[in-house]
């Protein structure tokens, strides 16, 4: 059993949802990024998604897109992601990577899996890779003991929900609204409905993402999900205050939220 499986079991035992935070590796630069994931871990994130900056992030809204551009301009190299993964682990949270497929494909799928596992990573979320196309990645993940996390969406048919959940390990990423990443005023009933539909086909932990930005929203989502994913709001906080103060404050608020279900 990997650290990813354990963290969800622990949260379940504590009768709370897990806080899953997202930050892009190398944003705003490598050093700050290493410090930021440690700060996020220390402030209460259970799992940290280490994003791989990419030139064409078609699933991301403006906040994450701009952060990726900035990280690339600051000289991000794919191998930096392994250092950030190690920093997450040092900070006491469980690291998973979130990457569009092409950088991984270019690095070599098996080589990426080996290096990710060696750095202490537990798996990868793939926003533009559906299980239907993920054969090589699933085999590599299996060889190196990594979890494969795919997304389900409100438009997924019941058949695809089942197929996708069966291809997942660790947790299922429930993309709660139709749209790209970004802060939203309300998380909405779509999320609850999709969680219920997914719950009907799997026992895996279900983490809800896309739109959560406050402790209050986190608490609301925590009433029906096993994990609350927060991305753009954390990226924005890091962008506004590179001294990490805002990031720590927001993370603490969110961590309190997931314990208030």
């Amino acid at each position: 059993m990997s650290a990813l499986h354990e963290v969800f079991r622990r949260c379940r035992d504590e009768d709370r949802a897990a806080l899953v935070g997202y930050l892009p590796a190398g944003y705003p630069d490598k050093e700050t990024s290493l410090a930021a994931v440690r700060a996020l871990a220390e402030s209460g994130a259970d799992v940290i998604e280490v994003g791989v900056p990419y030139t064409d992030p078609l699933m991301d809204g403006p906040v994450v897109e701009r952060a990726a551009s900035e990280a690339l301009a600051a000289g991000f190299r794919l191998t930096d992601v392994f250092d950030v993964v190690s920093a997450v682990r040092d900070g006491g949270a469980v690291p998973v990577v979130m990457s569009y497929y092409n950088p991984v494909l270019r690095y070599g799928v098996d080589r990426f899996a080996a290096d990710l596992a060696a750095a202490g990573g537990t798996g990868m979320i793939t926003p533009d890779l559906i299980p239907d196309e993920a054969g090589p990645w699933r085999e590599a993940a299996g060889r190196h003991g990594l979890s494969t996390v795919f997304l389900v969406a409100p438009s997924s048919t019941d058949g695809r929900l089942r197929m996708t959940a069966e291809a997942c390990d660790g947790f299922v990423y429930v993309a709660s609204t139709m749209g790209v990443t970004g802060v939203r005023a309300a998380v909405g009933g779509d999320a609850r409905t999709l969680v219920e539909r997914t719950r009907a086909v799997t026992d895996l932990p279900l983490c809800v993402g896309l739109g959560v930005s406050t402790g209050e929203q986190a608490a609301e989502v925590a009433t029906f999900a096993d994990g609350v994913i927060v991305g753009s709001a954390l990226v924005r906080a890091l962008g506004r205050d590179r001294g990490l103060g805002e990031l720590r404050t927001l993370a603490a608020d969110l961590a309190a939220g997931v314990r208030r279900r």
């Binding site: 064409d56 270019r106 438009s155 997924s156 048919t157």
Partner: protein, 423 residues
């Protein structure tokens, strides 16, 4: 790896799960429509009465003197309504949009040709239309922005990333994923997730079907080679498809060589690219060793794209088609040559195919076994009205300061007096 929409190892569906339902819906609607006589008839009626098909096949003897003595025939997609081949695919997909009960189309555009064609079809069929265009391109192609707005479309400048065509595609994908319930993404070329590469090819296949019949009639035989420019590759797939089983017909695709393959400033995916994934398809991608997409360069906006349709990747790897870069300079030379020898101003994109044909003609002429002149067909995918400005500056036909002054005068004068007087 799935087998859905594959061309060998290429193609597939590398997109967020949120889009899969829409792609399946589109695939089903298209498959049903193509065997529905009412749909096929309506599409043929539009091609005939609205686009002006069939487009002629013109022999260009004066131009051919510069192509090693080959006989050269141009497939005149430049004479279609809206000025390029783009309308073939747009009308097909717009009809499908109506058939699926959707009321809005979105599109990406680089130079503006596909955007104008989409805005045109949207106006014709009463659909809402939003066109995404890189901010850099909206400035370079201000007149096409005006054209789209005249036709009732909303044009959204995209400032993210490199602010060019690939970023316009990203933004269109983001819109689609958000509004997929009532919106169809009218993708303009033979790439993207399945079914786009196959569907767009099939809507353009009429180009090759007409060409094959026309060349048999005019030359009495099949051509030795078919030449086309390749950006995303829709005009090339459109003309290649009908000849795919004719083993003696060589297929040539000409990519944007920009300032030369060694300069790094080009869009020659088959010279400098590697297999990868971009915009939903596994195909050749110009990328760095971190898998980040590289910025491209070409004098022609329509070829300035870092990836290429997956079926071209397949034709390249199997050797059925040959892909070569043509530099900005070679293309502009061919552009000028066609203007002067035939009185036809081609799109700069199509001028890449003309330059390539000159090269192919000279090569074929060296074969001592040949008893009659080789026959070449070039897909003249678009007209060059949109490129007059670029050409004027390239050849120094108009003083740069005069151009600026003319624009200033136009901007300052009252509208009624701007357009000149009579002839």
């Amino acid at each position: 790896m799935s087998t859905v929409g594959r061309f060998g190892d290429f193609g597939g569906r590398y997109v967020p799960e949120a889009l899969i339902a829409a792609l399946q819906e589109l695939d089903a609607a298209w498959t049903e429509a193509m065997v529905d006589p009412a749909f096929v008839e309506e599409l043929q009626r539009l091609q005939r009465d609205y686009t002006g098909r069939p487009s002629p096949l013109t022999e260009v003897a004066r131009f051919a003197e510069h192509a090693g003595g080959a006989r050269v025939f141009l497939k005149r997609e430049d004479l279609n309504h809206t000025g390029s081949h783009k309308i073939n695919n747009v009308l097909g997909q717009a009809l499908l949009t109506v058939r699926m009960g959707k009321r809005r189309v979105i599109a990406e555009t680089g130079a503006g040709q596909h955007g104008v064609a989409t805005a045109t079809a949207a106006a014709l069929m009463g659909l809402e239309c939003t066109v995404y265009m890189g901010e850099v391109d909206t400035r370079r192609q201000a007149l096409n922005v005006a054209r789209m707005r005249l036709l009732g479309a909303e044009v959204v400048p995209v400032s993210t990333g490199s602010a060019t065509l690939k970023d316009a595609i990203n933004e269109a994908m983001r819109d689609w994923v958000t509004n997929v319930g009532h919106t169809h993404y009218l993708l303009g070329t033979v790439t993207g997730p399945h079914p786009f590469p196959t569907m767009v090819r099939d809507f353009h296949a009429v180009i090759g079907q007409e060409t094959r019949a026309q060349i048999l009639e005019k030359a009495g035989r099949l051509p030795d080679a078919v030449c086309a420019c390749v950006g995303g590759g829709s005009n090339a797939m459109g003309i290649f498809h009908a000849f795919r089983e004719d083993a003696d017909v060589r297929l040539f695709g000409f990519e944007a060589g920009g300032e030369g393959p060694s300069s790094g400033r080009h869009a020659a995916r088959f010279s400098g690219g590697e297999p990868g994934v971009l915009h939903g398809a596994a195909t050749y991608v110009l990328q760095d060793d971190n898998g980040q997409t590289l910025e491209t360069h070409s004098v022609s906006a329509g070829l300035d794209y870092p990836s290429v349709g997956p079926e071209h990747a397949f034709l390249h790897d199997t050797g059925r088609a040959t892909y070569e870069p043509v530099t900005d300079e070679e293309a502009m030379e061919a552009f000028a040559l066609l203007c002067r020898t035939e009185g036809i101003i081609p799109a700069i994109e199509s001028a890449h195919a003309l330059a390539g044909a000159m090269r192919v003609g000279k090569q074929l002429a060296t074969d001592p076994a040949r008893t009659e002149p080789p026959v070449l067909v070039v897909n003249l995918s678009g007209r060059g009205d949109k490129d007059v400005d670029t050409a004027a500056r390239w050849f120094g036909l108009v003083d740069g300061e005069d151009l600026v002054e003319a624009e200033r005068l136009k901007a300052e004068e009252p509208v009624a007096e701007v357009e000149g007087s009579g002839w």
